[in-house]
């Protein structure tokens, strides 16, 4: 209950901050205004009049949230097939890379925001399982001749180890539905939960999770800075924030090939496979509107994370950002 009160207070503070012209010194202000020409913001008294980008269009902020919801409602059924078709299967490599950098240990608590169809959560549980097996094998190998002291210790520590848990949180019920169906067909259920929630206002208490991930979701959030602050809030001290997102390709040749592929092919693939050109048009446009690697790193640091770094995957098509709450 205290958490929800704190949430309300924080929202009131944030709203009042927005009404003040952002000349205030300090890192918190920077994330709001200095994103430069890529976001057009007209500051006024009402939040609804503020405009933002929806792909290459300019829409009001409430409109953007609604339209993003609609996009993912439409594509949910074909989301995984489209991912494979559009990225030629490479999205699996990206997600595996996220898990390898994450290197979670048994007992870790994961929150996967915008987790939708559950790709990250399934990989997380799989990774933990293989880690646990490896640990057991190592323990078995090293304790071939245990002393009576070791044996009694093993019996007592059995129930103390925490089970790893993955919580998939998404604002879109259709995506969660598809994720749950996938989980049922894969037979995965232990340690997995599905929660409807908004990345800008997570339905969790403070200091809950060891790892927070958001894979290919944060560019759809209307207020990225709020999502980052929420991430900071729900992470335990020492917790890690990890974000996989499409980013800027620096190599000019690769960039022109990537642009041609994105704008010529991807909406066509969307129309043929999912019957929905416009959603995939939005997708490729929203990638172009998202800040580049360095800018996003700055935003993460502004939110209060430390040791922020990023890794470029596939020449910068995708960037993996990571930061710690200390």
């Amino acid at each position: 209950m205290a958490a929800s009160m704190r949430l309300l207070v924080r929202r009131a503070v944030r709203l009042s901050h927005r009404n003040i012209t952002l000349t205030a010194a300090g890192a918190a202000a920077r994330s709001g205004c200095c994103r430069g020409p890529s976001v057009c913001r007209c500051f006024s008294d009402e939040a609804e009049d503020r405009s933002t980008h929806f792909g290459f269009e300019t829409v009001s902020e409430t409109e953007k949230a609604k339209r993003v919801y609609k996009v993912f409602e439409n594509v949910a059924q074909k989301y995984d097939i489209m991912n494979d078709a559009m990225s030629l299967g490479i999205h699996r490599v990206w997600k595996d890379a996220l898990l390898h950098v994450m290197h979670p240990q048994p007992g870790a608590q994961l929150l996967d925001v915008a987790g939708g169809t559950g790709d990250i959560a399934f990989r997380f549980l799989e990774y933990i399982r293989s880690q646990e097996e490896r640990q057991k094998r190592r323990a078995a190998r090293s304790s071939q001749t245990p002393s009576w002291q070791d044996i009694s210790n093993n019996y007592s520590t059995e129930d103390e180890s925490r089970e790893s848990r993955a919580v998939v949180c998404d604002i879109n019920k259709e995506m969660l539905k598809v994720g749950k169906q996938k989980a049922d067909s894969l037979g995965v259920s232990a340690g997995l939960s599905w929660v409807v929630g908004d990345a800008e206002e997570l339905p969790f208490d403070d200091d809950q999770f060891d790892i927070y991930t958001i894979a290919f979701g944060i560019r759809n959030v209307t207020h990225i800075d709020q999502a980052l602050q929420e991430a900071l809030r729900v992470l335990k001290p020492g917790g890690r924030f990890m974000c996989l997102e499409f980013s800027k390709v620096n190599n000019p040749i690769l960039s022109s090939i990537y642009d041609a592929y994105s704008f010529q092919m991807i909406p066509v693939i969307g129309e043929v496979i999912a019957g929905d050109w416009k959603s995939y048009q939005y997708l490729v446009e929203s990638i172009r509107k998202f800040p580049n690697q360095e800018e996003f790193k700055g935003m993460i640091e502004d939110a209060g994370f430390y040791c922020v770094k990023y890794y470029n995957l596939t020449g910068g098509v995708v960037a993996l950002h990571s930061g710690f709450k200390l």
Binding site: V59, D259, F263, Q264, V268, E285
Partner: protein, 271 residues
Amino acid sequence: MWLRIQRLNQQRFVLTAKVCVHQLHTSSTEPASSSYNGLYPGHIHTTPIQKALLAVGSGVAALRDPYRHDMVAVLGEATGHFALINLRDRMKNDPEGYTILTERPRIRLSTIDVAKMASLPEGSFGREYVRFLEDNHVTPDSRADVKFVDDEELAYVMLRYREVHDLMHTLLGMPTNMLGEVAVKWFEAAQTGLPMCAFGAALGPLRLNASRLQTLVTSLGPWALRNGLRARFVLNIFYERRWEQSLEDLRQELNIEPPPVILSAAKKMST
């Protein structure tokens, strides 16, 4: 900078109907829900490369699953440009067709009075059309919107063709199962010359079993082709004003023979 490019986009679309070379981020701007950048509501601008890709992709998708009407529609739009010009000109040169082009009637549940048509006498065109809709569990509202035709009038011609398709079924007495659809496609291919019809007419028979294929090749197919070539142009008929006309009378007027084989309605699980 992004805003300037967006404004340039809008000016560009006003000035040019067909765009051949694009800066990549202006190549297909999506229309908003309330206002639209395209030439008509639902219009999505596409480059020739995209049209080619769409044609190939939708063709493959339609072959794999013939019940994907949206893919058949997209194939028609991506390949039909020249045929549509020809159809539009034929409509313009006919008085009734010209009326249709100016008045732009739509066949949707909101524009046709199904209850009234159902109460018309047996054998009238309207009554038979309603019977066709009921027997085959279809509705005139399930047609896909036109998206990729880059001319507003041609888009209407395509839409009219699509909406008149069910009336073709009624006129020819063909149900909506695979055999009936292929027969109608042969008729339409002969009438309109749309590449999508030719494609469907040529590849549709591949999905028929042996006995149906035989029916098609021996009686239905030749009948459909013959009538397609000799019948009056079907897009030049203002059907909405002829619901009371008897079906036989309309067939005679259009120079269409009744079907040689009576096919029963499809028992379809999905429409």
